[in-house]
Amino acid sequence: MDGDEIYLDHAASSPLRDEARDAWIAASNLHQANPTGAHKASRDARRALDDARDVVAAAIGCEASEVVFTSGGSEADNLAVRGVLASRGGTVVCSAGEHHAVLEPVEHAGGLTFRLRPDGVPDVGHLAEILGSAADVSLVSVMAVNNEIGVVAPLGEIAETVRERSPGALLHTDAVQAVQWLDVADATQEFDLISITGHKIGGPVGTGALIVRGGLELDPLILGGGQEQGRRAGTPDVAGAVALAAAVDATVRVRHDDVARVRKLRDRLLDGLVAGLGDQVVVSAAPEGDMSHIAAGFAHVCLRQVEAEALLFLLDSHGLRASAASSCSAGAQEPSHVLASMGIPRDLAIGSLRLSLGPSSTRADVDSALRLIPQAVERLTRFGGG
């Protein structure tokens, strides 16, 4: 309606980084040739693809041969869960707060889920219980940073529990939201399978990778010409891989400073909302006020007596792009399974608002949000929630 766009939806998709855009366009122009061919154009494309693989491997802390480029996070997650099931069978286990790209394949295969604690952290005690009672667990999957609430999972503790209770099980983490905020190489050392994506870190939509630790048996989802070490057939998207690598590289280079800067903005945003709205606002994963377990870019709140759908409409009409829980394929807001697993009652979860910041976020964005959100909430409260 008026003013510039205030983009606070980085967790849904973060604007393309210049480095990624430049690399993408250059590679699209240079490397349209099929990298599996033998002639010079193919060899050049192959080299660009393998250079990209090296960059991703260095950032995630794995060997280049362990990087399987995919069409994004959902494919990587599906390849991990369904690939392990196809090659090993057994029972797959994940947290109840996983992204649907893990949750759906796990539930589809009759797998088991363990709950989140009220502060959104995967409940390792409950995981231990589940592992104790389930026979033949083949995979445990826990996302590194939750895509709705931004909670960082205790991956080390989870790995230790799994090694102790189900020593034969593989470990997968969906690290799609983590590359921006964590040292993923350090955090995922114990993990056998790691999903990443391009568009949460300023790379193109439709790019991603699954890290598959050396020699691990994993059936491919896509059969064909044996590309990507036989794990993912199809002519490789060279330009996409190059752009993904550029985005990963740029993200990791500035991560330390970016995290500190964004965390300050995020804290300013949450402090401002609490100051403006008082008891009406609940920081979803910080029931006791402690936010040390929440990644720097995430401000997820529940607003009492307000419906997210109406709130997002008002904010959108004033240029503020944000989101609530997950949207269904029709575009309607659906109640969040993450908040439900934390024990947040449905009538509170209806008022959920996810503001997610990223590298391009500014103090002006935060100040605009702090001007608009309390006004919108006040109006909707006056109209019975919207």
């Binding site: 759908e309 008002l314 029709a330 575009g331 807001q333």
Partner: protein
């Protein structure tokens, strides 16, 4: 910079189902210069094969909005729909009533819920693609039949009261369906030849009412008796029997056809009679409401969505409609709507005989 939620130009929120009528309603309003925003309400989250509430309908609505160059949003009113329409529908059947869920959906969702949401978002008016008209009388806005007698939806909208009618626009109500389709075709709207949805959106043709209700309420076997009380048959689920039904009653063949003339759900007894005993001189009513002063003489009374009205007198003292000519019995729970010429003047619900 305007305050959050205030839209100075009196914009209209158009409910677009993805069908041709609401597509054309949006187009007409836009043509007339209104600032409009389109919304599709997602009501039923379960199975559906009756062409309603499906993702493809939302897609159609969005693509028509795209073509017209208007904003499109989806509102998820699934919880409200379950609470205000689906749950009462099941409870009504459990109580032996034959409800019309579309009327409750219009009352609670299409209008109350959407209107409240629209107001909260700064929209003073809403519009839909229903075939009915809003006429101005000396006493305010009243609902009248749509211009196309075959498509008139005033019966299922009769529950709308004055405050709703004052803020509602029905742009296609004064057009025939053929005109609506012609406009859609002329504009190249993708919904121009789309078939219309007819059935209750949450009951699938494949599985039917029995399976749907069986999941939600206990279905009990019932005894079928004749008017003297002799047992003549049985039904699997007394909750699924409707007045006028003649099949599935376990009756011995070779006799004259028998019809259900009464259902007592409490004691699980269904009474059948001959064709002539299906007719009645009067029908009991409940929740009757006149929009203006009570009408004392005979008026047109309509008892189903596309039924032909019959003449009858509404007596509020005894809460009955006394039919000028014997009238087929009306299933308890059906809406009864009175008209003066084309204008809705009152409405209520058929009660237990």
């Amino acid at each position: 910079m305007s305050p959050v939620g205030e839209r100075p130009n009196g914009p209209v929120m158009v409910a677009m189902s993805g069908g041709v009528d609401s597509s054309v309603a949006a187009a007409i309003l836009q043509e007339a210069g209104h600032e409009i925003v389109a919304v599709t309400m997602k009501l039923w989250g379960g199975e559906s094969d009756t062409g309603c509430c499906a993702v493809s309908d939302v897609d159609d609505a969005r693509r028509v909005a795209d073509q017209l160059g208007i904003e499109h949003h989806v509102f998820n009113f699934g919880d409200d729909f379950e609470r205000d329409v689906v749950a009462p529908y099941a409870a009504d059947h459990a109580a032996g009533r034959t409800p019309n869920p579309c009327i409750e959906c219009n009352r609670h969702l299409k209008f109350d819920r959407l209107l409240n949401r629209a107001e909260a978002l700064g929209f003073s008016r809403i519009a839909t693609g229903h075939h009915a008209r809003i006429v101005q009388t000396a006493r305010g806005s009243r609902l009248a039949r749509g211009a196309d007698p075959g498509k008139d939806q005033s019966y299922v909208l009769h529950v709308l009261d004055q405050p709703v009618l004052d803020r509602l626009m029905l742009p296609v109500g004064s057009m025939t369906k053929a005109d609506v389709r012609r406009i859609a075709a002329d504009m190249g709207l993708r919904t121009a030849t789309k078939p219309e949805s007819q059935d209750v959106c949450f009951i699938t043709n494949q599985h039917g009412r029995a399976l749907f209700l069986g999941d939600r309420i206990p279905l009990r076997r019932g005894k079928v008796v004749d008017s003297e009380g002799h047992e003549v048959g049985s039904v699997d689920a007394v909750e699924l029997v409707t007045i006028g039904q003649r099949k599935g009653l376990g009756l011995v063949g070779g006799t004259d056809p028998h019809y259900v003339i009464d259902i007592d759900t409490a004691s699980a007894v269904v009474t059948v009679g001959e064709r002539s005993s299906l007719d009645t001189a009067s029908t009991n009513l409940e929740s009757w409401q006149w929009f203006d002063e009570p009408s004392t003489g005979s008026v047109d009374v309509q008892c189903s969505a596309h039924g032909v009205p019959a003449r009858g007198q509404i007596d509020v003292a005894t809460m009955t409609v006394r039919w000028d000519q014997p009238h087929r019995r009306i299933a308890m729970g059906q809406s009864v709507v009175a008209y003066s010429d084309d204008t809705v003047i009152g409405g209520g619900i058929a009660a237990r005989p």
